[in-house]
């Protein structure tokens, strides 16, 4: 199972599943990362965390620990 946290910048992936529960999971979904969404990984912050992705036409930043909950293919 690949997770968003480990994807190299510059690639596009599709969301397969979201782990976790409660506030964190809901927040990620509210921001548009739902099952089947395409995500483009733009870059990693200069200090190695968080990461910046493009999703549903806008830029979103999320910490690696949160990105770890997103299973992609």
């Amino acid at each position: 199972m690949k997770r968003l946290e480990n994807i190299e910048p510059g690639s596009t992936v599709k969301v397969k599943k979201l782990d976790g529960k409660g506030a964190v999971r809901r927040r990620i979904m509210d921001m548009g990362i739902t099952k089947g969404t395409k995500i483009f990984i733009r870059k990693i912050a200069p200090l190695g965390d968080p990461i910046e992705v493009t999703v549903r036409g806008y830029e979103l930043s999320l910490r690696k620990e949160d990105a770890n909950k997103i299973v992609v293919e």
Binding site: K21, T34, K43, A45, P46, L47, D49, G57, S61
Partner: protein
């Protein structure tokens, strides 16, 4: 007829600009009862009977963040006549997600398709009529920044309020889900008095929203029945109910976008180009520090510093003028002292900061409005989250080197409640401009040969912030479920001067109002204590040792004995008068020192500096903390923590210092040389390169993190290749 219009929309959708356009200047800013989320209310221009309520910027009506819960409760319980939903047309997909939820509340909704000018400029096309049909509510094209479509939006909203035409609730979910929601609807039809939001409640129950389950107080059988319905579908969809609803909402929106939005293909926008430089792996930090240095340089060191001179001159003139007027009128000596020093002097001391603050706020608004602030959080988050803060905490703390009050106020840009509280509590630990004269005085008089003392104050301050953060993260006010750091990085915009000016003026106004009143009252009180004896006889400054203040100092000085400076009442009193403003500490030493000798050793002087650095900030800053925390309980906790920590650290300095340096000249008492005191505090012993020191330390931390990352990664690679 009174009409309430509620403005709801995503952050960065132009909601505030729209609010300003709709209301003009007649607005009222407060907090929601009990919480710090800002509540803005105003009247529609030229319509005294139409109120506009600006609700907090949100992405969803989920039950998890404070802002969302406030908005939900307001919409469902207070029932505004119309919801004006501001939608950023250039970012429609995510914005419409909230729209689909708002329409379901049963409150007549009108969508303001804002920033339509950006869409048109890009050459994209939106089919507004079709969009309105798909959403089930009227859609008006607007551009709040350019002032277009505002009138149409207002008249459409009024008409909607008068006709009370309901939204057409579209069935956006797949049949199976829709059936289940209807089933729940049927089940709860007698538990809800209001037919119009039954659908909304049913969806929330389907999502198993705990806040709604508690609120409706359904019977056990009904709750179990709903649970059964939900669980069956959760199994079928292999997802939880929240996930199913969210996914289906977005699927529906994708369809709507496909139908109504024709996008021109673009390779790289200007915003992308800016971003590729500004958050570049190697350039990001240097650019960031460059910008900060510039802001600091202009607003604190150069332009800000000149304005302080002007304001001081101005108040000097007022002071002299009013004293000569009063003298001519035959006023008594103590009236002159009260008006000249007690009132005008202390207000003047506050106002000297106002121009500096306004310049600072001007730049901050620029950063905020241009979209750079979000990138600051992106760049700095890694460092700050380690001690319970977020990337956005950096700005308040940097401002705190000038003055804690605007620093505390700047914490408002931090969305996360816990991070914000922590930032408010820790910002006063950063040595502010008013504490510098105290350090400068002691360094000049006691540590003239030890050049390390000045920088060490900053290093101690930064370490205390870090350790406090790590410690407080575990206390009940700051502990709890970690909040996700999922943050939108808005496109870069050229800030509008009008918006920046409004922003700046609002901040300055609230500073003057709050700080002004607190400082004014407390200064008068301290003046009274220091100018009168217990028998209420007026005492000229040289007889301060007979005053009530001296009496109080005498009574409490035992508290400071363990810290090494409780032998006479002067340092105790100086610590108290420091509550008015930290510069007053020096003034107190000066006026008391003229009447009697004040003695310190190097150890006790250092302990005193440490105590001043961390103990409760001035009244104005406590007032600002109270305002941003939103309640006294947390404010008192914060002040208690600050003072307690200051006490412990000063105690440690005194105890350890006295043991290590026993008998050496470090522990020999020395009388403060009062005649040289004022001059000493003016000298730039520590003023100099503060910013450079702070930046240097943070840069070092950043490099250290970068290096450990590299090492850890290469270790991982080795482990993998093995």
């Amino acid at each position: 007829m009174n009409i309430n219009l509620a403005l709801v929309g995503n952050p960065n959708s132009g909601k505030t600009t729209m609010f300003n356009e709709l209301t003009g200047s007649s607005q009222y800013v407060g907090n929601w009862p009990g919480v710090t989320v800002e509540k803005k209310q105003g009247k529609l221009k030229k319509h005294k009977d139409i109120s506009i309520i600006d609700l907090p910027g949100i992405y969803s009506l989920s039950p998890y963040t404070l802002e969302e819960v406030i908005t939900r409760d307001y919409l469902i319980d207070e029932k505004p006549d119309v919801i004006i939903n501001i939608v950023d047309a250039s970012n429609m997909e995510r914005n419409l997600y909230l729209t689909t939820q708002l329409v379901e509340t049963g409150i007549p909704t009108v969508v303001a398709l804002n920033m339509i000018d950006v869409v048109n400029k890009n050459g994209d096309k939106i089919d507004v009529a079709e969009l309105s049909k798909e959403l089930g509510c009227p859609v008006i094209e607007t551009s709040a920044i350019k002032g277009n479509g505002i009138r149409a939006l207002a008249s459409e909203s009024i008409e909607l309020a008068k006709s009370n035409k309901e939204n057409i609730i579209k069935n956006i979910f797949s049949d199976k889900i829709e059936d289940s929601i209807n089933e729940i609807s049927e089940l709860i039809k007698n538990d809800i008095d209001d037919e119009s939001n039954k659908y909304w409640y049913s969806i929330k129950l389907f999502e198993q929203d705990e806040k709604i389950i508690d609120k409706l107080n359904l019977s056990e059988t009904k709750q179990n029945k709903i649970k059964q319905i939900v669980e069956k579908l959760e199994e079928e969809f292999d997802d939880d109910a929240e996930g199913i609803v969210t996914t289906e909402r977005y699927n529906y929106i994708e369809k709507v976008i496909f139908k109504c939005y024709k996008k021109v293909y673009r390779e790289m926008t200007n915003s992308d180009k800016i971003d590729s430089i500004v958050t570049n792996k190697w350039l990001a930090l240097p650019i960031f520090f460059g910008i900060l240095w510039l802001i600091y340089y202009v607003s604190i060191s150069t332009v800000g510093d000149w304005t302080i001179g002007y304001v001081e001159d101005f108040f000097g003139i007022i002071q002299d003028g009013s004293i000569s007027v009063l003298t001519n009128l035959g006023a008594s000596e103590w009236t002159l002292d009260l008006v000249g020093n007690g009132i005008i002097g202390s207000i003047g001391a506050i106002f000297t900061f106002v121009p500096q603050l306004m310049i600072l706020f001007f730049f901050l608004s620029l950063l905020e409005d241009s979209g750079y602030m979000a990138r600051v959080a992106f760049i700095m988050d890694r460092i700050f989250r380690k001690f319970g803060l977020s990337g956005k905490s950096f700005i308040p703390m940097l401002i705190g080197t000038g003055c804690s009050i605007p620093g505390i106020m700047a914490s408002r840009t931090i969305e996360n409640e816990k991070d914000r509280r922590m930032t408010i509590l820790l910002t006063p630990f950063i040595p502010c401009g008013a504490k510098l004269p105290v350090f400068a005085m002691f360094i000049a008089m006691m540590f003239s040969e030890q050049t390390w003392v000045g920088p060490s104050i900053y290093i101690i301050s930064i370490f205390t912030v870090i350790i406090s953060g790590i410690f407080l993260k575990k206390t009940k006010f700051f502990a709890g479920e970690p909040a996700p750091f999922v943050m939108e990085l808005p496109t870069y915009k050229i800030p509008r001067l009008k918006g920046v000016a409004i922003h700046m003026w609002e901040k300055a106004k609230s500073f003057i109002k709050k700080a002004g009143t607190i400082i004014f009252v407390s200064s008068v009180v301290i003046w009274l204590l220091q100018s009168f004896s217990f028998s209420l006889e007026y005492l000229p400054p040289e007889r301060v040792s007979e005053s009530m203040l001296a009496g109080i100092g005498e009574a409490i000085r035992w508290v400071f004995v363990p810290l090494g400076f409780g032998d006479s009442w002067a340092p105790a009193v100086a610590s108290m008068t420091g509550l008015i403003a930290k510069e007053v500490v020096v003034a107190t030493f000066a006026s008391v020192g003229n009447a009697m000798p004040i003695q310190f050793t190097q150890v006790t002087a250092f302990a005193f500096m440490i105590f001043t650095l961390f103990a409760a900030p001035c009244f104005a800053a406590i007032g600002a903390m109270r305002r941003e925390f939103g309640n006294w309980k947390l404010t008192l906790f914060a002040v208690g923590y600050q003072t307690g920590l200051a006490y412990i650290l000063a105690l440690l300095v005194n105890a350890i210092g006295s043991i290590i340096f026993k008998g050496s000249q470090v522990t020999t008492s020395k009388t403060l040389n009062i005649s040289a005191m004022e001059e000493a505090s003016e000298s730039a012993v520590v003023n100099g390169d503060i910013v450079l020191i702070v930046f240097g330390i943070i840069l070092l931390v950043a490099i250290a993190i970068g290096v450990t990352n590299k090492i850890r990664n290469s270790k991982k690679h080795i482990a993998v290749s093995k």
